[in-house]
């Protein structure tokens, strides 16, 4: 009986390649990309993984890996294989993701993606071809080029004073905690090739079992760009590269690692409604009322004085009352310690600009805000400011009121609720067409889940509202 040992896991012919030689690879004579392709293909076939596998073709000589691998294939931007692999693996838990990359792709332009995916422990088998030179673009220096090695961009040999030292990817990655398996192999003799074959299978077994990140660095030479025949190329790998890049298994945690299973998407509307609290937090749709006035309110103060949430409470009250409303803050670093302000518009029709430049109401919690915005209050509008600010020359025609908001807050039981006190005073002074219940609903919703604070704020609000009512005139 006869048995034929032949290539498996790769297509028999390569129609994606086009041209006349549809059964030959595009690789140069003697290039060992084909050897690695065969070993990966054989392992995928032996483990019956081809239906689960997505092979990522990089940019570089292996850009056309998808001509060959009989599996799902995707070609990706230069250096981004690990990021693309992350996207695939995260969305398809069962996929066996194989990233095939060269030294320019993985260790230079894609170094960040490489290390970060390794550090996250993504479920990817990375096969890293290190041949110390850019192949596809014509023999430029790579991050792994040996000291003294001549390339198109290191014509006198790599000078470490100018270009640093060869990057040791396997060692770098094995410094990280997450990777399951890290190995460096070569094909420089048959014993080493067999070890390489085992390492490749191990990396793919880890993917088969969904255990996490595996990295296999494969040392090769580039006969074309390094201008070597295969004997010289093999010697270069064995005598120079392996000295700089020692072979071996740097890490194998596969026996200790459990499969990592990602969640499945839940598309049900009920799930989303529940997640977004639509059962408890829902307002009526806004009702068109063209006769209702459009009110513009501005709140300003130091960051931390609660001016932004004061505005949100007012917008919530408007929303609860079926009004159209908008809230727009000053945003970014300025709200982390500096001054902050926000504008709230309340209307009976869809809100145009959410920016408040002519205010019906200004609430100023500190002097800089008061001075900055007092001029924006419309004639007949309200200007409320924290009483602690002290003397202030009010603009003519504006209803100005120093509000002891802090005292009201303290008296109500929550000294941090000066902003709530201001809302209460506003409700007492005018109400702005919003029913009392809307304010209370807004206060409850804004501090949802904090029953004690809600109760305190209710008290502050009630007290402040009475104060407001007393100062209507």
């Amino acid at each position: 009986m006869e048995k034929v040992i032949e290539t498996r896991g790769l297509y028999k012919t390569f129609p994606r390649k086009g041209g006349s030689a549809l059964t030959a690879t595009h690789y140069c004579p003697g290039c060992e990309h084909g050897v690695l392709h065969k070993l990966i293909g054989e392992a995928l076939a032996d483990m019956e993984l081809q239906d689960r596998t997505v092979v990522i073709s990089p940019v570089g000589c292996a850009v056309f890996a998808y001509y060959y691998f009989d599996a799902g294939n995707v070609q990706v931007p230069h250096g981004r294989a690990a990021a693309v692999g992350t996207g695939i693996s995260r969305t398809k838990n069962n996929a066996v993701v194989v990233a095939y990359q060269g030294d320019g792709d993985l260790a230079s332009i894609g170094l960040n993606e490489t290390l970060q995916a390794a550090n996250r422990g993504e479920k990817i088998a990375v096969f890293f071809v290190n041949n110390t030179v850019y192949g596809m673009t014509g023999g430029q220096m790579a991050p792994t080029t040996l000291v003294g090695e001549k390339t198109e961009t290191s014509p006198d040999g790599r000078d470490p004073l100018q270009t640093g030292y060869p990057l040791h990817m396997a060692e770098l990655i094995s410094q990280l905690q997450a990777p399951v398996y890290v190995a460096r192999v070569s094909f420089s003799n048959m014993a080493k090739l067999k070890q390489a074959r085992q390492a490749i299978r191990k990396a793919l077994e880890i993917q088969r079992d969904g255990k996490g990140y595996a990295f296999v660095e494969v040392l090769m030479a580039c006969p074309t760009n390094q201008k070597m025949n295969v004997e010289a190329a093999t010697r270069f790998v064995a005598e120079q590269m392996e000295k700089e890049f020692p072979l071996g298994i740097l890490r194998d945690r596969s026996a200790d690692v459990r499969p990592l299973v990602r969640a499945e998407s839940d598309y049900r509307k009920e799930t989303l409604d529940r997640l977004l609290h639509l059962d408890t937090d829902r307002a009526p749709d806004a009702q068109l009322d063209r006769a209702a006035p459009t009110l513009q309110l501005k709140m300003a103060g130091f960051g931390g004085q609660g001016v932004l949430s004061m505005g949100v409470i007012l917008a919530r009250a408007a929303c609860a009352a079926g009004k159209f409303t908008s809230w727009y803050p000053s945003y970014g670093p300025e709200q982390r310690g500096g001054t902050a302000n926000c504008g709230v518009v309340i209307s009976g029709q869809p809100v145009g600009t959410p920016m408040v430049t002519e205010a019906d109401v200004l609430v100023a919690m500190n002097r800089p805000s008061l001075e900055k915005f007092a001029g924006e209050v419309k004639p007949g509008g309200w200007l409320l400011y924290a009483a602690e600010i002290g003397e202030f020359a009010a603009p003519a025609g504006v209803r100005t009121l120093a509000v002891p908001a802090l005292d009201l807050a303290k008296e109500g039981g929550n000294p941090r609720a000066a902003n709530v006190a201001m809302v209460g005073v506003l409700a007492g002074l005018d109400g702005f067409g919003l029913p009392d219940a809307a304010y209370r609903e807004a206060l409850a919703a804004n501090f949802a889940g904090k029953a004690k604070i809600v109760a305190q704020n209710e008290a502050v609000f009630a007290l402040a509202k009475r104060w407001g009512e007393a100062h209507r005139a």
């Binding site: 009986m1 030959a24 690879t25 084909g34 060959y68 295969v230």
Partner: protein, 82 residues
Amino acid sequence: MSEQAQPFELPYPAIDPLECKACGRCIAACPKKVIALGTKLNARGYVFAEYAGAGCIGCLNCFYVCPEPNAIAVHVKAKEAK
């Protein structure tokens, strides 16, 4: 593949003349030195490797070091297969 059904005694390497790029890796890897570059050009312009016709021990070295997926298949006796 070669048009002949079984040209040699088992085991033997079946080298497809068309697919060989004449890199010489199989020649270097053969422990019995029974593969060598021939004298003829194939259709793609390479002087392809040829099996001497006898002496193969079925070690598979030539298969594994050959970078061309379709250039070498090794025919072995079934019981010798891994």
